[in-house]
Every structure is written in C-alpha cells, then in structure tokens.
C-alpha cells in the first residue's frame, strides 16, 4: 500500500468498509479527506472513519459483526451549514449544524484534538464551497515532538523522551564548580581531620604496651623508659587535639561559605526562572507551592554541603580508613566485625524502597499546608465577612493533621529501623570481645592492640550506624533537588527567539487570523483579524467571557497564538524581544494589583527613576492626586498586600497612574475605570484623551458611554469581532452594539446615549451661564 500523503487523507480503510461504500455507490479513493478516530459516540474504543467527498460526507464505524451499523452518517453537503469541535471531558466532538440542529458526528480522545480542529476548519470551508485541499503540510503540529511524536506540554517544549537528563547527584556536584578551589580545600581539611581522629587509639595502644604493661609486670629498670614514653605520648595527644581544633574550625568556615553560597545561587536561579516562565505556568501552580520550592528546596542543597563535610561523606571515608587500620591490627577480628554487614546492607536497601514514597508525602503535605494557609490569609476579608473562621480553622487543622501524620509515618519507620540496626552492630562487638579476649589470653594479640582495636571499633560502628540513615537523607535530598531541577528544566513557553529584534514600537497592531484557546478544544478567539493604526483609539465591547481580556493578553504576548499572527509595526511579535515589547505596552489590568509598599513605589513600578513631578502629573491624569494628597502621608502612604487600605476605585486609579507614568506607545485599559464613579470616570476620560493622543489606546469597557470618543469600536461575541466602526456607524448598523446600547440606556432609564451626552452639554452650558451671571 502507498504511504498516505497526510494524516487527514489516510485512505487505508478496511476492505469490508470499502465494499460497503462501493455498494452505496461511493468510491473510497475519491474522498478528499479521510480520518480515523479511536472512539465511537458511545465512548467505546472503536475505529470510526470520516470520509468526505466532493458533495457528500460519510461517517462509518468498524464494530465487529454488526454490518447494519457500519454507516453511521451519510449526508449531502448542502444540508450541513457549519462544522466545529466542542470539548467534552477527556475528549471532544466533531459537531455539525445540520438543518439548524447541532448533531454530533464523531468523538475523539484528547490526543487527536489538534487533528480534529484542523478537520473542522477544512470542513467549514468545504460547506461554504471554498476551495480546500489536504496535504502533508497539515501534519505539522507544533505540539508534537518532530522526532518521536510525543505530545509536548506546549509548542516548542523540549521533548523529555528525546532529551537526556543528567543524573541529579551529578548536577548538584556540578553546582560547586565555581567554588572548586574552596571546595577542594574544604575536602582536604576534611581528610586531614579524619586522619587526625585516627591517631588517639593508636596512642592508647602505645600507652598500654610501652608504658603500663612493662611497668606492671616488671621491676624498676623499665620505669624511667616508661616515663619518657608517657611524656611523649601526652605531648602527641595534646598536639593532635590542638591541630584537630584548628582543622575543624577552618573546615566549618569553608563549608559554611560554600554551602550558603550554593543555596544563594540556586535561589537566584530558581527565582529568575520562575519569573521568566509564562503566565500559563503560573495559571497552573499556586504561589504557595512555588514559595516552598524557592525557599525550602534550595535550602536542601545547603544540607548537601554539610553532609559532605561533617555528614555522610566524611563518615564514609572514616569507615574505610578505620577499616584499613583494623585490618592491619588483626585481619581475623576485622572479619568478625564485618559479619553483620551484609544483613545491614540488605535491610537498608529494603528500608529505602519503603520509605522513599513516604518522604515525598511529607513534602507534599508541607506544600499543601502552605497553600491552604496562603489562600486563607489572602482571603481573610472574605473569611471574616462570611464568619467562616471556624470552618477555615477546620480546613487548616485538616491539612496540619495530614502533615503530622505523614511526618509520623516516616519517623516511626525510622525509629523502628535505626535501633534494630544498632543492635546488629552491637552483636558484632560482642563477638570481638570474646574472640579478641581469647587471643590476648593466648598471647596472639597484645593487650594494647586489643584496646586500640576496640577503640577503632567504636569509630567504625558509629558512622556505620548513621550511614544506615544515608538512604533516608539521600532520598529526601534527591527529591528536593529533583523538584528544583524540574523547574529549571521547564522551558518558558513564551521565549524570545535567538535573533529577537529590539524595537521602539510605533503602535500599529495587526491581528491576522488569530485563533487562540487556553485548551485545545475550545478556541476562545476564533479567526480574529484587524488592523489598528498608530495613535488610533479603539474600544472593545462584548459580553462577559467573550474574550476581550484574552485578546489584549495576546498583544502583550502573555500567551502565544495557536494559529495566525500578531504583528506590531508589521513585525510578528514572536520575532521581537519580549522585554522590549512589554516595555512599549502599558496595561491597566482588569484586577488592579498593588504591591505592599508606598503609593509612590506602586506608581513608579515600571519607571523607578521617575521624578516627583512626573509622578504627580500621572496621578493627576488618573484623577488620583486629590485623594492621595489628602492622606496624612501623601504619596508615602504605605499600603498593605493587594492594596489593602484603599477603595476599589482608588486602587484602579493608582494602577492607571502607573500605566501612564510608564509612558507606553500602546496603552491597554481593561475595564480600567469600572470601579470609579461616573463623575471621576468622566474626568479620567477627558485626561486620557489629552494624554493618549498620539498613542495607540485600546480600552475595554462595559459601560458603553466610556467608549463614545473612540475612533473605532470592536464588538466581540464569542471570540470573534462581529462588528466594528465608530459609535455612529455601529448605531446605524442596528446590530449587537445597537442592542447593547439600547439595553444600557433602558437600564439607566434614558432614551439613548446621545441624549445623555446632549444633557451633559446642556448642563455645562447652564453652569457656565450661572457662573457668568454670578460674576
């Protein structure tokens, strides 16, 4: 069989079906579109085919046995007016409007969502009798890895299947590279310290064999010799202790330096990376979760360095060194000592496998707890307003209990395991006592050698005991490191391309057939095209949820389009430097966000070196100056988290001032004055007209009167711009805009928006007259 020219034209249908089709008078090879899905409409796995011919559409399934149900749908083109996809839960539908009724054609699982989105588009063109074709170019899908076909998390993501990931431990060690000189020195001191600690038992051996034994067993002749030895030994011991102190001190200082430095570096890297990650990443992870990651997980790296110097690595080296010395003292005793070792290793491995998942659960419980806490605390006003303190306390206690349980779960296991290990080692030393004691009695070993051996035995077992905890520590450390690297490995979905151009935008904005959705099934924006000239004032109206905010988000490139292009000054924004792009766009977000800090710091947020004159100018334009000036501390008033202490309208006005001070070429006002009273709104409007002349302005508003002065108004409905034109033109069209205006004026019990303006003017005239008469 020949290779299909495209996924959308895979005519390799089962023979059975081909026969059926021919019997109906259609030749399968005539189909210009032929796709297969993995599910039938009942949600069962089944091969279902869609075949589209010049003037006919057929859906056929391949259920075994039931011949009569092969052909599911067979319709002439003229009956179908529209084809679209609709999302279900875990999959989607290809849906068509047939004689005015929405009919489900096919179901597909999410893996095929992109394919069917394409199918729907082609079929729509087909219904409208536009030329359509299917080709290899339709197979290109930016959400799939071009090498292995694995679905990527977002277009352009690194395919995890194809990318090799370095071992976590190795990556951590590489982090120390910039401080390799200090780290090496540190490790030398560690070795030196260990060597020093090996000396005292050896001195004990000499004390017994050269000083005590001869004196006890002999006459006066040995005594003077013994004194000489004693003095030498004491001096040596003193020397070892003093040197040991110095070494420990230097080692400690070095490890503290390297450790804090590494965790500092890591915090910086993770923070940088998290702030670089796109909005879609932050849509997925709560601030609470990310906070634990930045502060908690990077601290674990610090622990790693401590473990190198005084923890497990040092212990491991000690064990080896001590083992070698013990071996040279008595290989026989050493073998007895090691008898319990296989048992220890086996149980440690078993324990490791058991405890690892429980450790992850502790971490999860911690991050959930901080998530709950941050939600409750940031929503404390709502909590109090609804009197839900008790409920929230229960919620908190629940999470807190979960943490307690997870911690106990691990620690109980550890405390059952560790003492048992201890006992195993003690069994080893009991053997040494017995065998070694007998050797001394048989004169195969001197007393000094046995005592020294027992001294080394203590040094051997103590770290071995802690080494059994190595696994637990290593697990928790590796999980933390892994989570940190997971963040660092996430590629920002909106990334400046290599040869990104830096721009000084003029403010022309073009959308070319832009389609975008937060998930793949349901485009929020559908095929939106428009051109905005530099300096033009555009208003956007439309029902709540129709995609207005989404549209302006694309201009700032908070998200990338699925299809189509967004151009600024004729250049596609993907080719522009993101920072430059955002610097030329000022946004007043729908939900004004103020940081903890002074009002002036909030206004100068994007322009830190602004002069007081500039601050006042923009505050005046935003009609914020008057209320700020009335505050006891004026612009230096400190405001709390999220602007606590200010009214909703005051917050909005500060964020308008912030955007104005930013002095952008393009100003986006998303419901910027929705919380402001009508009178101040009017003032702000007038100021904006003054300030924004020459700037491209896009204003979204529900209160239509706000948009009267716009050059053009875009009317959006369910993701499309359905009308555009000036206020007057749109009123003449008597479309959606006209209806919206009518509803609003009815609500305000005024016959029309024009009357409102007219009245405004009348009033002004009256006032002016009054003033004249007064003077």
């Amino acid at each position: 069989m020949s290779v299909a020219p495209s996924q959308l034209l895979n005519r390799q249908i089962p023979e059975e079906l081909a026969v059926m089709l021919r019997r109906r008078g259609v030749e399968p090879s005539q189909a210009w579109l032929c796709v297969e899905t993995d599910l039938n409409l009942a949600g069962q796995f089944e091969r279902v085919f869609l075949l589209v011919f010049e003037r006919r559409l057929i859906v056929a399934g391949m259920a075994w046995g039931d011949q009569s149900r092969l052909i599911r749908i067979d319709l002439p083109r003229d009956n179908i007016t529209q084809v679209r996809t609709r999302g279900g839960v875990g999959g989607g539908f290809l849906e068509a409007v047939v004689s005015g009724i929405a009919v489900d054609f096919m179901t597909f699982s999410n893996g095929l969502a992109d394919t069917f989105a394409k199918v729907a588009r082609k079929l729509n063109d087909w219904c409208e009798n536009k030329p359509v074709s299917v080709g290899i170019e339709d197979d290109y899908n930016p959400r799939k890895c071009p090498v292995c076909g694995m679905t990527l998390q977002f277009p352009g993501d690194v395919c995890r299947r194809c990318a090799k990931q370095g071992a976590v431990l190795w990556r951590v060690i590489k982090l120390m590279k910039p401080y390799s000189a200090k780290a090496t020195l540190m490790m030398l001191f560690v070795l030196f310290g260990i060597a020093l600690s090996l000396v005292p038992p050896k001195l004990t051996q000499y004390l017994i064999d050269k000083v005590l034994t001869p004196v006890l067993s002999d006459d006066g002749a040995a005594r003077s010799d013994a004194i000489k030895w004693l003095i030498m030994l004491v001096a040596a011991l003193l020397g070892v202790y003093v040197l040991g102190m110095v070494v420990t001190m230097i080692r400690g200082l070095l490890s503290s330096f390297v450790g804090t430095q590494i965790s500092f570096d890591m915090r910086a890297r993770v923070f940088d990376h998290i702030t670089k990650l796109g909005i879609s990443y932050h849509d997925r992870y709560s601030p609470g979760q990310l906070m634990t990651r930045i502060s908690g997980d990077t601290a674990a790296l610090r622990g790693f360095v401590d473990q190198l110097t005084s923890g497990f690595l040092a212990q491991l080296i000690t064990v080896v060194a001590v083992g070698v010395i013990m071996f040279s003292l008595s290989w026989k005793l050493t073998l007895y000592t090691l008898a319990p070792a296989p048992l220890v290793i086996a149980s440690a491995v078993f324990f490791y496998a058991r405890v690892r998942p429980r450790y992850s659960r502790i971490w999860d419980a911690q991050s959930k707890l901080s998530g709950v806490l941050s939600t409750i605390l940031s929503g404390i006003r709502v909590v109090k307003a609804f009197g839900q303190e008790l409920h929230e306390r229960n919620r908190f206690t629940g999470s807190s209990e979960h943490l307690q349980n997870s911690e106990r779960n691990v620690e109980y296991a550890v405390w059952k395991f560790t003492p048992a290990m201890g006992l195993l080692f003690q069994l080893g030393s009991i053997i040494v006592w017995f065998v070694g004691g007998k050797d001394v009695l048989d004169s195969q070993l001197t007393l000094g050698e046995l005592i020294a051996f027992l001294g080394y035995l203590g040094m051997f077992y103590a770290p071995l005991g802690t080494l059994t905890q190595l696994t637990t520590w290593l697990t928790s450390f590796l999980t933390a490191a892994q989570r940190t690297f997971e963040i660092l490995d996430t590629r920002p979905d909106v990334d400046s391309s290599e040869n990104a151009k830096s721009v000084e935008a003029q403010g022309a904005i073009t959308f070319k057939n832009v389609t975008f959705g937060y998930n793949r099934h349901e485009p929020i924006l559908r095929d939106v095209s428009f051109k905005i000239k530099p300096g033009e004032h555009i208003g956007i109206v439309g029902k709540s949820g129709c995609g207005k905010t989404t549209l302006v988000n694309l201009i700032s490139r908070f998200y990338d389009t699925d299809r189509g292009q967004v151009l600024i000054d004729g250049e596609e924004i993907r080719n522009l430097n993101v920072d430059d792009l955002r610097r030329s766009i000022g946004v007043v977000l729908q939900e004004p966000f103020l940081f903890r800090g002074t009002i002036s710091a909030n206004i100068t947020y994007g322009q830190h070196n602004a002069t007081p004159e500039q601050i006042i100018t923009s505050a005046k334009a935003a009609n914020a100056h008057d209320f700020i000036a009335r505050l006891p501390l004026g612009y230096d008033t400190y405001i709390g988290e999220r602007g606590a202490g200010l009214s909703g309208g005051e917050r909005q006005r500060i964020s308008i001032a912030r955007a104005l001070l930013f002095d952008p070429k393009v100003l986006i006002l998303d419901e910027a004055t929705s919380n402001v009273d009508t009178e101040s709104e009017k003032l702000i409007q007038d100021a904006l007209v003054r300030i924004t002349s020459g700037r491209t302005t896009i204003a979204i508003a529900h209160r239509l009167s706000t948009l009267k002065n716009c050059d053009r108004i875009f009317v959006m409905d369910r993701g499309s711009i359905i009308e555009h034109g000036s206020h007057e033109e749109l009123m003449e069209q008597k479309g959606l805009y006209y209806r919206l205006v009518k509803i609003q004026t009815e609500l305000s019990s005024e016959p029309s928006i024009d009357v409102l303006t007219a009245e405004d003017e009348e009033e002004k005239e009256k006032n002016a007259k009054k003033r004249k008469t007064k003077s």
């Binding site: 279900g88 929405a102 299947r161």
Partner: protein, 183 residues
C-alpha cells in the same frame, strides 16, 4: 471581515431562574439525525441537546443539566434533571448515552505496571474500555482528587483515567501507585 451577523434566537427561557425538568412537563427523545431532542410542553422542541453533570463529583447520579446548542453554537440550559430515575426508561437510556459521550473517562480497574520512563510516569493498566498504556507528567496538576478516595489522572494528551477508590486496588497496586502519585 467575513463574519455574518446572526440575529440570535430568542428562547423562551429565563436564564436567571432555576428550572427542574420533570417527566410530566417534558419529553426526551431522538429527533432528526439521531440528535437528542427535548420537548418542553407548551414551550417548544429543542433539537441538538446534550447532558452534563453539574456536580460530577459531589452528586454524580443527580443534577443533570440539559444544554441546548443553537445553530449559532450558543449554549443555553433548557433545565436541570434532579432525579434521573423519575424519567421513563427510554429517556434515562438516552440521557445516559449522552453523558457517556461527554465523559470520556477510562476507569482503571487494574494497574499492571507503573514506572518511570524518560522522566514520565508510564502506566500499564486495564480499563473498562480495554487495556491501555499511557505516559503522564510527574506533576501535581496531572493527578486530581476525585471524591474522598479517588484520583483522576491526565496523560500527556490530557486523556483522563480514573481510579474511583484507591483502597479498592490490591495492596501491591496501591503501593506501586502511591510510590509515584503520593499526593
């Protein structure tokens, strides 16, 4: 621009009022092209309707909303069925079919193998719709709680797999599962 402005249908439905559908006021049946239809007495026939659970986790068998899709793609709720059992058998069957269509969730009945592969969690499972293998990202947002003891897993393609009650798994399966999905 090529948008045709469609005068939206005006439906005799007040969207601000809750309306419970009962068997004596409406009929659920198939109409043209096997699309689900609802005929509300003294109101009109709604053709091209689908059913959706509004409390899929809290009250999975109750509160089913019937949503009418207009020719322009606009979705409007016709009403809510509080107790499906009240309806005649045929209607119940139609509603169930519509729900099955919408909820493409595979119920995992057995986990044969779980492991890490290329940094993904790789599952080999048996589902109510046949055996299946899938990869999922090892991320918190890819496994949600379902009810008290259940989990819903999202694979790399966002397909859904459900384990209704983790305690129903065998001890080995549960241990294997929780080694990776520990949250």
């Amino acid at each position: 621009m090529t948008h045709t402005i469609q005068e939206p249908e005006t439906l005799p439905i007040d969207p601000t009022q809750i309306r419970f559908l009962t068997p004596d006021m409406c009929q659920i049946h198939l109409g043209a092209h096997d699309a689900l239809h609802v005929t509300v007495k003294n109101e009109r026939i709604y053709g091209g309707v689908y059913a959706t659970r509004i409390f899929p986790v809290g009250h999975p068998g109750k509160f089913i909303s019937l949503i009418y899709i207009g020719p322009d793609g606009k979705e409007t709720e016709v009403g809510i069925i509080r107790e499906l059992e009240e309806f005649p058998e045929k209607a119940v069957q139609l509603i169930q079919e519509s729900l099955q269509r919408r909820y493409l969730v595979r119920n995992i009945s057995k986990i044969n193998k779980v492991g890490l592969k290329y940094g993904f969690i790789a599952f080999e499972v048996v589902t109510d719709k046949g055996p299946s293998e899938f990869f999922m990202y090892w991320q918190h947002d890819k496994a949600h709680d379902y009810g008290v003891n259940g989990k819903v897993l999202l694979d790399v393609d966002d397909n859904r797999y459900m384990i209704a009650d983790i305690d129903q798994l065998s001890a080995r399966e549960k241990a294997d599962f929780q080694r990776f999905i520990y949250w």
